[in-house]
Symmetry: C2
Subunit: 345 residues, 2 copies
């Protein structure tokens, strides 16, 4: 267990290092944080903290730097709550009151704002519509070739799309087909449906020859393409350039790997698949090798009470944790407010 003084030293070192990005020595610490003891004593404490794994020394005649464990301890036990400045608050307010409602635009803006407020990279996953269960699929005939497909879920979400079908399609085909899909899929969770369930149902459909075969195949395929595409969660990345200002990202090779990651939506989605509430993964705690010298802080956001997406900040392990957490909490609220206000998709 750490003594009170060791905790203070660790806390001071984290604070100092987060600020300056330079290894902190005993002298700096004694000068800037009045710990009430001499540099020699601090040196002893630092040596102990290093032995316990909370600090690292880049080289023998440099100051100390918090290790992943050190940050972990700081986050779990030492961190104090932060407050937003007025100008930060203003930025968030502007964002809320901008009146933008279109999901793409809101999330892209939000991820950039996240970056601006944290000076790291902002990441946001689009709300998963696929949290609910399917209630019904409707196909509405609009004109000879145009059909409106509607999909209702039990949590009030709605997906829609106009499909273009072959001219031979007749209304009763559509009805049968919609009824078939609705019947087979109703009550099932959306995740399951967009996964392999849909394929199964499709195969079964092909074996039932109650409908003019060719046509059904075409319609079903169009329908399936739509359902699967809708199931795709997207990730919005904002402010990648901001991270280049951080001294730990002066290495081009590192930056390259990160930028490559930001274009791999599948990997990002995996990275952002997180527990509700604030979650912090520091350095090696991350599974993904590329981000093992980074920290990812995330929060989930909810729409109408259901948790549906993740807002996150990715930055160096030397991160202003308290501030990032605060920003994420506020952003989660903003998104909730923006999206819950109405049911527009």
């Amino acid at each position: 267990m750490l003594t009170e003084r060791q905790r203070e030293v660790l806390k001071a070192i984290v604070a100092e290092y987060v600020n300056t990005a330079e290894p902190v020595g005993s002298r700096t610490l004694a000068r800037r944080h009045n710990l009430g003891v001499s540099t020699a004593t601090i040196r002893n404490e630092m040596a102990d903290l290093e032995e316990m794994g909370y600090l690292r020394q880049p080289h023998v005649s440099a100051g100390r730097v918090p290790s992943d464990h050190g940050y972990r301890f700081y986050v779990d036990h030492l961190m104090e709550e932060d407050r937003l400045t007025y100008s930060e608050q203003n930025l968030l307010n502007e964002f809320i009151y901008s009146g933008a409602r279109e999901a793409d635009l809101v999330l892209a803006t939000a991820s950039r704002l996240l970056s601006q407020l944290s000076s790291y990279v902002g990441l946001i996953t689009s709300p998963r519509i696929h949290t609910g269960r399917l209630v019904e699929i409707k196909l509405v005939h609009l004109s000879q070739q145009l059909v409106l497909a509607l999909l209702f879920t039990d949590n009030g979400q709605l997906e829609n799309r106009v499909l273009v079908l072959p001219p031979e399609v007749e209304p009763e085909h559509l009805e049968t087909l919609a009824a078939y899909f609705s019947c087979r899929l109703a009550g099932r969770p959306m995740e399951e449906i967009t996964g392999r369930l849909l394929d199964e149902v499709y195969l079964e459909l092909l074996e039932e020859h109650t409908l003019s075969h060719n046509l059904v195949t075409q319609i079903a395929e169009t329908l399936m393409g739509w359902l699967k595409a809708g199931g795709r969660s997207r990730v919005f990345t904002g402010g990648t350039h901001n991270i280049l200002a951080q001294p730990e990202f002066q290495d081009l090779e590192k930056v390259r790997h990160l930028l490559a990651l930001f274009e791999e939506e599948a990997l990002l989605l995996q990275l952002l698949q997180r527990e509700p509430g604030i979650t912090i993964t520091i350095g090696r705690e991350n599974r993904l090798p590329v981000v093992q010298n980074c920290t990812v802080v995330s929060s989930t956001y909810t729409i109408n009470g259901r948790s549906t997406g993740t807002v996150a900040v990715l930055g160096p392990t030397r991160m202003d944790y308290a501030h990032v957490i605060l920003v994420l909490e506020h952003m989660a609220c903003c998104l909730e407010e923006t999206f819950s206000a109405q049911d527009d998709n």
Copy 2:
């Protein structure tokens, strides 16, 4: 005017420099390209070419590097057609036959592919639906609160969206409103409509008290939000990390500015607002200061015979122009094929 030998020297220098990224000296040139003359002669020609502004010398004892003018002359007069390798052809085929149809996914993939095939950055603007003229706006009542809004243009494009409206809405309101908008806007180019025309019509509408005021306002606002959002062209950027491998982008500050640019959709749209066919802007020929040490090569792609979007590659001025042009031409075809095959939006 350049002599035949000067043209050969310039061509050889461009080829060499594009390959090696090192200033090319007279000796290298004599060895690798058999120009049939001695290094001294080449030196004389180089000095002349420099005087005419086609070459630059980074410092007095270095080789020569093509200037923006040099590249321009090369592109206009010296460049030879390139051919795709089998593996490149394969990548493109895979892309076409992947069967993806959803615009977002296709364009994101395409921009990455563009980057992969060029090793620079791929940029693609989403197809402008707003090239045509409005034919009609339809509002179809689906259920008590749900209304399907449809927008037809004279070039066969179709936008649709389900709007959620207040429960008091009645079918005749919708009809009147749709008729009003259709009547006032029909025949007008979409660009105009999503611009200030819509605002004007909206204001006029507010002054006509033929409709229950409050309700109309709400519907009209929802409708307008949709129209304006639909007018927003998007830009897909792919392979930003690839550019970091280029020696001209070792400077972090440069990279930062570029990355920042890639998040400024408005600027990108401006940059990608280009003439039909292949367009090349080299270095200082670009208006945007950030890209004045870059080259942007673009092609427009057409859907059903109408040019609607831009595919482009952004890289260093030291670029394999012939290859990039080739890749862009092929990509434009791919997109045309993908999107024209059906009318799905």
